[in-house]
């Protein structure tokens, strides 16, 4: 199948699923802008991609997505990078970066680390890049969610689990937040007559090192054991590229995808009241609407 060259942003593109997707998309002729936390890993990922595919069009930008200010800076760096390369639009935004932490760590903005990186960063980055996506023929937003979004709910009285932090519960909640975000984003985009479509990707159990980042002891042991049975990151990367480039998924109206097939997300993740409440809370947290006009615990 022939795809026109597309412009794609992928966060967390220096390892795992993000890197595999960056390779796949670059090889298919897309202009890929990847992001990663460290300059060093960014440049080695860039070299790795150019090693496989010498005429790949690829740029990397370093940003620590746990900070809202850095997310805003990344968005403006992306705008600048695209403009320099002669593009005035963005076709695909892939919010893929994710974090796991064994401990309750609070970010510079006072949010729990996993909540900030896995939910608030995609929320804000999408908000910032929406005008560029609007200018695309077929703007697409993809969030790397997970099957761990099933069988959980949001704890509204302590959404960042400050008081009773548990690594897995916190992680599951953020992945649920991804699906809720995609659901509400699609609803809002459709209501405003936009052509942008948003998808949540379920990568399945993938053999990456996410379970070794910011964790210790038992969590690492479990992950070492579990990830062995997982698929290589190229498998979800293929689905990511499919959602990014192929027009077929857009027509289905399905939002949750695994292995290039639509799948039913959890019933809770489709509740409009929950999605709306999370959206409004996230807007306040990111300082998108005026000064706080309500309170959340």
């Amino acid at each position: 199948m022939e795809h026109a060259a597309k412009t794609v942003v992928i966060t967390g593109a220096t390892s795992g699923i993000g890197l595999a997707a960056a390779k796949e998309l670059a090889m298919k002729g897309s202009y890929v802008i990847g992001s990663g936390r460290s300059e060093e890993r960014c440049s080695s990922a860039e070299q790795e991609i150019k090693g496989i595919c010498p005429d790949a069009k690829v740029s990397f930008l370093a940003a620590d997505l746990s900070s809202l200010a850095e997310v805003r800076r990344l968005a403006s760096d992306i705008r600048e990078t695209l403009a320099k390369a002669g593009y005035s639009h963005l076709d695909v935004l892939i919010n893929n970066a994710g974090a796991v932490s064994s401990w309750y760590i609070s970010t510079v903005d006072g949010f729990e680390l996993q909540f900030a990186v896995n939910h608030l960063a995609p929320f804000l980055l999408t908000h910032e890049l929406l005008p560029l996506l609007e200018r695309s023929q077929a703007g697409t937003v993809i969030c790397t969610s997970s099957g761990s979004h099933y069988r959980t709910r949001l704890r509204w009285n302590d959404i960042m689990l400050r008081k009773h932090y548990n690594t897995l519960l916190a992680y599951k909640q953020t992945k649920l937040a991804n699906v809720l975000f995609v659901t509400e984003l699609n609803r809002r985009l459709a209501a405003s007559g936009s052509d942008i479509k948003a998808f949540a990707l379920d990568p399945g159990l993938v053999n990456t090192d996410i379970g070794f980042k910011g964790t210790s002891g038992i969590a690492r042991m479990v992950w070492r054991f579990r990830s062995r049975g997982g698929t290589p990151p190229e498998v979800p990367a293929r689905c990511m590229a499919y959602l990014a480039l192929d027009p077929a998924p857009r027509a289905t109206g399905k939002i949750y995808w695994k292995d290039c097939m639509p799948k039913e997300p959890s019933a809770y993740s489709q509740r409009p009241d929950v999605a709306k409440r999370l959206w409004e809370l996230s807007e306040r947290m990111c300082g998108i609407v005026g000064q706080g006009n309500g309170r959340e615990q």
């Binding site: 309750y104 006072g110 400050r162 008081k163 947290m285 000064q291 706080g292 959340e296």
Partner: protein, 274 residues
């Protein structure tokens, strides 16, 4: 009327947890710390998220002039406080002989001098309509003489004794003083590394900061003079109080030395790998 809390060391791990906890309870905040940028980030975010008023003023608490500027700034705002949370403090871990004179002075100034002065000044700005709650961040280290952390544990002992005495002194004046005595908390990569180097012992004595901050405010509101987070830590404290100090010091010293050498070994091993 809305409550207002004054927090020092507000952008560090525990200080931030206190700021978020107070904000989630709807308190207005006055924050201070040594760097301006993190203060402004945190203030903006808390006010956006919780719809409260947040004021801040940068201050180097080890410097008397900087502290004087801080008091002037707070006074000019005309605030009335009902919480003072003294979090700012530091530790230079390692052999006493290896410390520099400037490190010794810095620790005394921050852990002791600044705490006493702030408490003294803020008492003048308390809200007369309500009970004034002071929280001093001491440490589990306050209960033991601790080799390798000798200065630190002694400075925390100072805060513990001061808090208890001041609490009694001001009991009839509608003021409560709570000394928080936590074990190590996973707030920075260094702390996490130190906790992990202690292995199982580190793990079971460790509590998440969010939990600690929330419980401490509850304890202060109940007027508890001392709060030790974590059951294991309370047991350690109880055990420490029936064993003679000389034996405790010996035991703590050997445990720290073992943990330190494990850490060194780990670092070496890490280097060898990479």
């Amino acid at each position: 009327m809305k409550s207002m809390a004054f927090i020092t060391g507000a952008t560090g791990g525990l200080g931030k947890a206190f700021a978020v906890e107070c904000a989630s309870r709807g308190f207005d905040l006055f924050l201070t710390d040594i760097c301006e940028t993190p203060l402004s980030r945190l203030s903006e975010s808390l006010s956006n998220t919780y719809g409260i008023n947040v004021h801040y003023c940068r201050c180097d608490l080890t410097d008397a002039d900087s502290r004087a500027d801080l008091y002037a700034n707070v006074r000019s705002g005309g605030f009335l406080f009902d919480f003072l949370i003294n979090v700012a403090g530091l530790d230079f871990e390692g052999a006493f002989e290896e410390r520099t004179l400037s490190q010794i002075r810095t620790m005394l100034r921050l852990n002791i001098e600044a705490n006493l002065e702030l408490t003294h000044e803020l008492l003048k700005m308390r809200d007369p309509a309500t009970t004034f709650r002071i929280i001093n961040v001491s440490s589990l280290a306050a209960f033991y003489p601790m080799p390798v952390k000798a200065m630190y544990s002694a400075s925390k002992r100072f805060l513990l004794n001061f808090s208890r005495a001041l609490g009694e002194e001001l009991r009839s004046r509608n003021v409560t003083v709570t000394a928080l005595c936590p074990a190590g908390m996973p707030t920075t990569p260094e702390c996490i590394e130190a906790i992990e180097a202690q292995g199982f012992a580190g793990k079971i004595t460790t509590c998440n900061v969010g939990y600690v901050a929330s419980k401490t405010i509850d304890m202060a509101l109940r007027g508890k003079p001392v709060y030790i987070p974590g059951l294991v830590n309370r047991i350690l404290r109880a055990a420490g109080s029936v064993v003679p100090d000389s034996i405790v010091a010996r035991a703590v010293g050997s445990r720290w030395n073992a943990a330190r050498s494990r850490r060194m070994w780990r670092k070496k091993a890490h280097k060898a790998y990479s």
